[in-house]
Symmetry: C2
Subunit: 223 residues, 2 copies
DNA sequence: TGGGAAGTTGACGGCGTGTCACCAATCTGT
DNA sequence: ACAGATTGGTGACACGCCGTCAACTTCCCA
């Protein structure tokens, strides 16, 4: 297991808003987070200990507790980091939408593409004895859900959507997005476009208008 | 914290297929499982230890390991128990279906009603710091998913469904079922019928035919 | 340059883990 | 009905992880 260190500072004298103390603090926090990502992915969430994380680091065990209370909190910070990356993308994608189709399609397409590209979590989260999944609804993740619901409510107000239960609709989109993204990532030829097309069609027109394929057999079967 | 014991045997001499040894084994296993349900619900999964479980029991710590390898395995056994209860209900409900509407509606209705009645897990599973959700896909749970996919494939073969990606459709139903059931359980007036109507309409006709409610405000939806 | 503040370190007491030698209860064959 | 064999319960033990804290090092500012 490699130890994680940030690259040596390129000695930029200017544009330095913070002192050495503050710099080191941010650095240490990031060192711990980076190490945690690797260790979680390697051993699974349940099996990793705070000691495992800190051992993958040049820091001492006591230092860990200056930054996080527990491995749960590290995990939460990781989730927040991820949520903060994807949320603006989703928001932006939906903002451009002028039709229901664009709204739904943009949401799924953006999400699935993100999962395939940066989907480190998906693999890491489930490593737990290969059967345990975890989802932590951190403040930033919940904020992402709220944004989706707000956007739905706005769309309803604009007359873009009919007046439906925005909470349940948001929940449905979230459920389909997470569940399909897992299946998608397992397929030999993971295809974000195809997955987004499926989900979009489902939400747009329901089962009757789902894309037809050759037989009942999809591209290929996962597990 | 109460200790869990099974009721004293009513001294039924007949209909006894097993010896004392075998009886005690099944009893102990059940004692541990019952205690685990309570302890998990009380402290949350992450915070409970094998010791917590065994302390809620008249058994010794070593005995635990004669039945389970870890708390994960206890949890898995709990999930399997639950899955074995609901799977036949779901299967039976779908078997009667002669139309798409019946198929979908029966699935959601059965699931949501089960969650509301026996939904101990839902509360227990998420107790973890109030932000951590867990889902363990145990063999029996996976078998339940497989059954749903098989039923979809059969329905496609019978011409009941158009030829769609059965795997993704199954995943979507599962995702919507889990995600909505959580929101439903949180609502002041949890209504399985309303939730099932929403999910059914979503899958039957898509967003355009979702049930309309007064305004964008949830609470509950009519029909 | 010196004194105080901030942060790091690693050893420590407490606890949970999984094991194992020992023992009690049950079973089996006569 | 009894004794030896077998199964399984018991709790103490060695080990490792947890979170803390007094001592120490580094940085900041006057």
């Amino acid at each position: 297991m490699e130890q994680i260190e940030t690259a040596p500072p390129p000695s930029r004298p200017a544009a330095k808003a913070t002192g050495k103390r503050e710099q080191t603090k941010q650095q240490n926090r990031q060192i711990i987070l980076d190490a945690a990502r690797i260790v979680f992915a390697e051993h699974g969430y349940g099996a990793t200990t705070v000691r495992d994380i800190i051992r993958a680091t040049p820091l001492a065990s006591g230092t860990f507790y200056n930054y996080f209370q527990s491995k749960e909190e590290v995990y939460q910070a990781m989730q927040d980091e991820t949520a903060l990356v994807i949320r603006p993308k989703l928001r932006e994608a939906r903002e451009k939408a002028t039709t229901v189709e664009e709204f739904i399609s943009a949401t799924f397409q953006t999400f699935f593409e993100f999962v395939l590209r940066d989907g480190v979590d998906v693999r890491a989260l489930r490593h737990n004895a290969d059967t345990m999944r975890m989802r932590m609804d951190t403040p930033e993740v919940i904020a992402g859900f709220d944004e989706l619901r707000e956007d739905i409510e706005k769309a309803i107000a604009r007359g873009l959507f009919p007046p439906v239960d925005a909470d349940y609709l948001m929940a449905s989109i979230v459920g389909v997005a997470f569940e399909i993204s897992e299946r998608m990532a397992r397929r030999a030829e993971a295809d974000a476009k195809a997955a987004a097309d499926f989900a979009t069609a489902l939400f747009l027109g329901g089962i009757r208008s789902l894309p037809h394929i050759a037989n009942g057999n999809p591209a290929d079967s996962g597990a």
